[in-house]
């Protein structure tokens, strides 16, 4: 079996360890004999390179980089990503990407910045007097009750539309907006999350869920992945829960 991973804007949307997600997907496939190709999609890349991919990852960006990406993403790549997500191709959008796939972002001052509208959510910044939501987070996935751990660092607050399911319930930390106790969102096989950077290394069960979904969609059959020795992954995971 073979998977092609689309890594959107690795040179612009990779701020703090986002690469960890790609490394983990690659290794966990290789360890199971699934061959992997990473297709780096950036400003100059052709859409045909994106369309044939089996998985999409897009990470965090600083403001300046996000501005550079914004126009190209909305005009060129986002319509293709939307079609792919609608078809059930799995995707992971963290941090700034989670913001870009919503309807819009309303900064503290100035006009609304339109998003790709792939997820039914919007984001707003409550003003520079409101604190940034920063720290280690623990949450419990709504559907499976499995825990996820990570680090969040965001000024904006995210509000989900009524047709969009949250990914997890926050146990410790802030999550989407620090109010409704939810974190992230799931739409079809795509996940959005405020857990920034390397979400997958300490949450290998999410990595495997995404790999299995990608293979199921591609090969149109039920996939059960060979288990791996994840004791170190869980040790790092439990360490955050115990903090």
């Amino acid at each position: 079996m073979k998977l092609t991973i689309a890594w959107l804007y690795p040179d612009l949307m990779s701020t703090y360890g986002d690469r960890g997600n790609i490394i983990v997907l690659q290794k966990r496939c290789q360890w199971r004999g699934i061959s992997v190709k990473v297709e780096e999609i950036t400003l100059e890349s052709r859409l045909s390179n994106l369309e044939h991919c089996d998985f999409i990852f897009m990470g965090g960006a600083q403001d300046r980089q996000q501005k550079i990406v914004g126009k190209d993403f909305l005009e060129n790549k986002a319509p293709v990503v939307k079609v792919m997500v609608e078809k059930g191709i799995p995707a992971l959008f963290v941090c700034a990407a989670y913001q870009l796939v919503g309807h819009y972002y309303k900064p503290y001052q100035g006009e609304k910045i339109p998003g790709a509208g792939i997820f039914d959510l919007y984001k707003e910044h409550p003003g520079d007097q409101k604190k940034r939501l920063i720290g280690n987070v623990t949450a419990e996935i709504v559907s499976s009750k499995k825990t996820i751990v990570g680090f969040e660092n965001h000024g904006g607050r995210t509000y989900l539309g009524k047709d969009l399911a949250p990914l997890a319930r926050v146990i410790k930390g802030f999550g989407n907006n620090g109010e409704d106790e939810y974190e992230g969102a799931v739409y079809k096989n795509a996940i959005g999350s405020y857990f920034h950077g390397p979400l997958l290394p300490k949450n290998s069960h999410i990595a495997d869920w995404l790999i299995a979904k990608a293979l199921e969609v591609k090969y149109k059959k039920k996939i059960s992945l060979k288990p791996l020795d994840d004791s170190l992954e869980w040790q790092a995971h439990r360490f955050i829960i115990a903090r």
Binding site: Y16, R19, P198
Partner: protein, 464 residues
């Protein structure tokens, strides 16, 4: 010296002596903190007393080594210097260094202040330095300095004018939860640099010493020295194609033109986004280098930059090449920065590594030095940044299979996990004290607070 400023200094000196006497270990910041609460403007007062000038060293990586090099050169020249050698580089740390050096009368009788400055604190420090212009320089008050006896042998040290030199080393992603984004810092610097006051006749125009190979630094330096402002920029950088990396590292920040946003074209990368760059859209490009070569006293490409920055600064202060050469020949590294410790006959070398760009450089250097055993220590305390995500941007994959690797620190499992995905099985030392049982020279790459922990275990002292 105004009387209301003497008391805070005296109190600060008492706190400083007491913390040393009782080993409280807080001597680097508390004296300054207390003095600042009593006299918020005290740094402007100190700055106005420096006879010949003030040198501020800023940037993500290399501040401590560069400022120590400059200090040692100036001292070799026979000049007196106040320097925040402990690495405490916020306003309170810089004021503490001044207090320790000041006489009990409150007077700071030294030629130069050489201070490494925290990225976020640079605008505040510049503000106080600007404020110090409105005061008479110390030398003009009592004519202590006689130009005839000036040992620098250059017109610059002529006594009546003071020099203000800003050394801009580099800007990399570092502790996003604490510093914010690189661009946010760059924006703050830009505003602060534009406020540089050159109207006062008792100081020379500001001088900027800038890294030509960092596009963002060049953007900042050139906008601060554009027409209408008097500040001059002198550029240092490397002209050595043999040092180019085969491909660009993942951990880069400024690979798009800071002026116009177009993708930069590189003739070659030295490390991270540091290299020989140009923008084909707005025609910005790496400036001509004023200083690009020296006999480097320390291994590591990043130390070439630190050396070039120190040499360029020293030359701008009128120090002769021969003196700089002599001073750097006997240069001893700063604590934790390639510092070598011998404990029970075992050699341990410390390479402070606190962000992806610096970590990759340290790693490349220890591999080139032939390391057989490496220990990584990762903490997530406030001085390290609470967020350890950045370890996934470090290229641990470059470690050859014959090197044995151990990990420790608060986030030992995160580190072991990162290494697992780089194909390396690390020896997990939950207790740092057990990590030094080694036959070979042990190369230790710690984050900041981890470096202090290691020094505490090996030398009994965290800092100096």
């Amino acid at each position: 010296m105004r009387l209301q400023n003497v008391l805070p200094i005296v109190i600060g000196k008492i706190v400083s002596s007491a913390s040393k006497l009782f080993h409280l270990g807080a001597g680097a910041t508390w004296p300054g903190e207390i003095a600042l609460r009593l006299s918020p403007n005290i740094f402007a007062e100190f700055a106005s007393q420096l006879r010949k000038g003030i040198i501020l060293v800023a940037g993500t990586n290399g501040k401590t080594t560069t400022s120590l090099m400059i200090t040692q050169v100036l001292e070799k020249q026979g000049l007196t210097v106040v320097h925040n050698a402990s690495g405490a580089n916020l306003l309170n740390g810089i004021v503490s260094a001044c207090i320790q050096k000041a006489a009990w009368s409150g007077k700071l009788r030294v030629d130069y202040g050489v201070f490494e400055v925290d990225e976020n604190s640079l605008p505040q420090i510049i503000f106080y330095v600007n404020n110090s212009h409105s005061r008479e320089p110390f030398e003009a008050q009592d004519r202590r300095g006689n130009p005839e006896n000036d040992k620098t042998g250059s017109p610059i040290g002529s006594g009546m004018t003071r020099q203000i030199v800003l050394v801009l080393l580099n800007l990399f992603r570092d502790q996003l939860d604490r510093y914010g984004e690189v661009d946010v810092i760059a924006e703050k610097w830009k505003k602060a640099l534009l406020r540089l006051d050159t109207g006062n006749q008792t100081i020379k125009p500001y001088q900027l010493i800038a890294n030509a190979d960092d596009p963002l630094i060049v953007h900042l330096a050139s906008s601060a020295s554009r027409a209408g402002l008097e500040a001059r920029v002198t550029y240092f950088g490397l002209n050595d194609a043999s040092q180019f990396q085969k491909k660009m590292e993942h951990a880069t920040d400024s690979t798009f033109c800071p002026a116009c946003g177009a993708r930069l074209i590189y003739e070659g990368y030295y490390y991270s986004h540091i290299g020989v760059w140009k923008c084909e859209k707005c025609k910005a490009k790496r400036p001509t280098l004023d200083v690009s070569d020296w006999d480097y006293p320390l291994p590591g490409l990043y130390n070439r930059y630190n050396t070039l920055a120190a040499v360029t600064t020293s030359q701008a202060l009128g120090i002769k090449k021969e003196t700089i050469k002599k001073a750097l020949l006997s240069f001893k590294p700063a604590f934790g920065r390639q510092e070598e410790l011998v404990v029970n006959g075992k050699r341990v070398k410390l390479f402070l590594s606190k962000n992806p760009a610096g970590f990759n450089e340290s790693l490349r250097t220890v591999i080139q030095l032939g390391a057989k055993q490496i220990l990584f220590v990762l903490n997530d305390r406030i001085p390290d940044g609470r967020d350890v995500s950045w370890i996934w941007d470090v290229d641990f994959e470059m470690i050859p299979g014959n090197i044995s690797v151990a990990v420790s620190g608060d986030r030992v499992y995160d580190l072991a996990l990162r290494l697992k995905y780089a194909g390396i099985t690390a020896n997990i030392c939950e207790n740092l004290e057990n990590a030094f049982d080694t036959k070979e020279t042990l190369y230790v790459l710690p984050t900041y607070s981890a470096m202090l922990d290691v020094r505490k275990i090996l030398t009994g002292k965290k800092i100096l």
